[in-house]
């Protein structure tokens, strides 16, 4: 009898010991509570940055609860959607509050998630053995972007409509399958009632289910390997006589109390924004979205909501000129790799001459000829790669990759590469656990190179975010292009600068 196998009575719950024992014999309620709260040992040195994980969960709850009540009054119909949102704002009792909680919650979600991710970056929380914690977290981040994007169409305002139009058309840019894919996503030849209906379905059912499941996976993976901490040292290496880490404290009550304090402070800030500045100067609710969707007229300035703008800047930065720069960089890299063992002056000369030739060819040679030459080069290097081995094979592999990229840069429009770069900019975070080769995890013990890189990355991310909200100008495009290069350099050069950086030794145990 399964129910009688667990004989141990539950203790410590006073008059509830009996009922809890009965439950525990049928469902591992107390076991789960102990594993994930009362006996989950977290490092004792968590600081300010560790508020944002629990806050993200808290905001998820806000969004789900407010969402349930909004759906009671909202109509996912192109002819009624805008009016139903205004109905919620004006006629539904307290509807304005529920709606503002939901709209402010969306931005708050991204604020806490970005800070939560930044914490991971600071303290190396993505490093082994926490790769899957990081990957689940990144999938949550991508799902959250999808959730926000689908939700933004629902009020059916001008920004809803044209934002969806632009993002769906990103898929249209993909070669061959693009137009059919965009048609399939929209369910119509333009963003229409069909699109609104399916986005509603994704926003209220599909993505929230995925999000909740992913949050569970994120926490299960975290509790399997244990939390990282600001020192980046493993507390499991120092176990006390009771078998628990000497530098660990039970999550409940120590961190549940700390996180409750965090929730209070968060709610104070949240309430100020929700009650006094729910539009947040046009950043949380864009002014043009108070105008009903008009498929015939794009607003004179459109920008996505602030949390998408860094990627939007990267999309806009990818012009024809920028493709020439990318072609030059690919050439410099490949020639540099191939001539790695040559004398330095010869190597530099080869890199410069190679880049110059490619740039001139890229600008002046007919598209088909250029593509043909590099496809031939790619095939030749592929063949050479197969018959050689060792360093020679690696050199041919580099040439093959470079030739394919160069042919692709010229063959496909800059528009396609803009979409590709924007996608890569979000996906490249997944590689972080393998790009960081530093012997230490935490920024506290990392060297000046890594610290500079992180500081620069934050600035670049903010600058890209700022220009993404602004209309296009020549200067803005140039700065965005520079920042796009730095953005990718932060990741792609990390294996190099994290290896040669001068790190400090990690302490044996956590400090404060």
């Amino acid at each position: 009898m399964a129910a009688t196998e667990k004989k141990l009575p539950v203790t410590g719950a006073g008059p509830f010991n009996g009922i809890l024992t009965w439950v525990e014999q049928r469902f591992p309620l107390i076991t789960l509570w102990k594993e994930h709260a009362a006996e989950y040992y977290a490092p004792k040195n968590f600081n300010f940055w560790y508020y944002f994980g629990s806050l993200a969960m808290f905001v998820l709850v806000i969004q789900i609860v407010t969402g349930i009540f909004l759906v009671m009054h909202y109509k996912p119909d192109a002819s009624q959607a805008f009016a139903s949102v205004e109905y919620i704002m004006r006629d539904v009792p307290w509807g304005w509050l529920v709606r503002y909680m939901h709209s402010t919650g969306a931005s708050a979600f991204f604020v806490v998630v970005y800070l939560h991710m930044f914490r991971g970056l600071l303290y190396g929380s993505y490093r082994s053995p926490r790769e899957l914690v990081w990957i689940f977290g990144m999938v949550i981040y991508l799902s959250l972007m999808a959730e926000a994007f689908f939700g933004y169409l629902l009020p059916w305002g001008q920004m809803s409509y044209w934002g969806a139009q632009v993002i769906v058309n990103l898929f249209d840019a993909l070669p061959i399958i693009g137009p059919d894919l965009a048609l399939w996503i929209r369910g119509d030849y333009v963003v229409s009632d069909a699109t609104l209906n399916r986005f509603f379905s994704f926003h209220v059912i599909a993505i929230p289910l995925v999000l909740v499941a992913l949050v569970a996976a994120h926490i299960m993976a975290l509790h399997e390997v244990g939390s990282n901490n600001p020192d980046g040292v493993e507390i499991k290496k120092n176990l006390g006589p009771d078998g628990h880490p000497v530098d660990g404290i039970p999550f409940h009550p120590y961190y549940s109390v700390k996180d409750t304090f965090g929730v209070m402070v968060f709610l104070a800030v949240f309430a100020v924004i929700m009650f006094f500045m729910p539009e947040f100067g046009g950043y949380f609710l864009e002014y043009n979205n108070f105008i009903p969707a008009d498929p015939l007229k794009t607003p004179s300035h459109i920008a996505p909501v602030w949390y998408f703008t860094p990627y939007y800047s990267i999309l806009r930065a990818t012009t024809d000129n920028f493709m020439v720069v990318l072609a030059a960089i690919v050439t410099l890299w490949s020639v540099g790799v191939v001539t790695a063992r040559a004398h330095r002056p010869i190597r530099i000369l080869a890199m410069i001459v190679g880049a110059l030739l490619v740039v001139l060819g890229f600008v002046y040679v007919e598209r088909l000829i250029f593509v043909g030459v590099f496809v031939a080069a790619a095939l030749a290097s592929a063949a050479a790669m197969l018959v050689s081995r060792g360093a020679t094979a690696r050199a041919y592999r580099t040439l093959f990759i470079a030739a394919v990229l160069l042919a692709g840069f010229k063959l496909l429009d800059a528009k396609v590469w803009g979409v590709v770069l924007m996608g890569l900019a979000t996906l490249i975070f997944f590689l972080l656990p393998w790009l960081d080769r530093s012997p230490v995890k935490s920024i506290r013990y990392k060297g000046p190179l890594f610290k500079t890189a992180v500081a620069l990355f934050v600035i670049v991310f903010l600058v890209l975010g700022y220009y993404g909200t602004q209309p296009v100008t020549a200067a803005g495009t140039f700065i965005s292009q520079l920042c796009t290069l730095l953005y990718f350099a932060f990741f792609l050069l990390m294996p190099w600068y994290s290896t040669i950086d001068k790190t400090k030794p990690e302490p044996a145990r956590v400090t404060w």
Binding site: A173, Y189, V190, L296
Partner: protein, 197 residues
């Protein structure tokens, strides 16, 4: 083979066969769901040609009509505007409209049946925003020596008064010209170019 002995080969075969059969069934079951997201018959049926009366359109003015849910522009161009188009050739990416979409009868210098009337789909070929009018030739923040045309507010693509895209802008192609025909001097039909009858 003894009664109780395991036949590993048979097991593997059955495992593979059931996995493949289940995979095929799951794939087949996905078809109706995926297909249900394609445009419905009603959406496909919409898109009848529209008639536009341009008799009230003054030179230099623009009219927007909806065709298949998209904005179609009709611009009545002045002689100065037509002259400006001729000077735009070196600035635009595809002056001869060799890459862009237009019916053969609109693949000419002014991309129009009658040079006076520009008919084009007002959807940027970059990511589908509708460019805004900057019809006057005057200095603009995005182009000091502006000859008149259209500016896409989303990503800064510029188009001249024939809907041709400027060089080094995100939009890869000129604005598409829909099939259209004149029925009478000042009346045109968009979405239908069959002659006669």
């Amino acid at each position: 083979m003894a009664e109780n002995e395991l036949d590993e080969g048979k097991r593997r075969f059955l495992l593979t066969a059931t996995t493949v059969a289940t995979g095929v069934a799951a794939g087949a079951a996905a078809v109706p769901f995926v297909a249900s997201m394609l445009p419905s018959e009603r959406a496909k049926a919409a898109g009848a040609p529209v008639e536009v009366d341009v008799s009230d359109l003054m030179p230099g003015q623009k009219k927007i009509v909806e065709w298949r849910g998209k904005p179609v522009w009709v611009v009545r161009r002045t002689p100065e505007m037509l002259k400006a188009i001729e000077t735009d050739d070196p600035r635009v990416a595809d002056p001869d409209s060799s890459r862009s979409q237009q019916p053969p009868y609109a693949k000419n210098k002014y991309r129009a049946v009658k040079p006076e009337y520009l008919v084009t789909v007002g959807i940027c070929t970059h990511l589908g925003c509708s460019p805004v009018d900057r019809l006057q030739a005057q200095p603009e923040p995005f182009e000091p020596d502006w000859h008149g045309g259209f500016y896409c507010p989303c990503h800064g693509s510029l188009f001249d008064l024939a809907g041709r895209v400027y060089k080094n802008k995100p939009a890869p192609e000129n604005l598409p010209v829909p099939p259209y025909k004149f029925v009478g001097d000042t009346k045109l039909v968009i979405g239908d170019d069959t002659q006669g009858a």
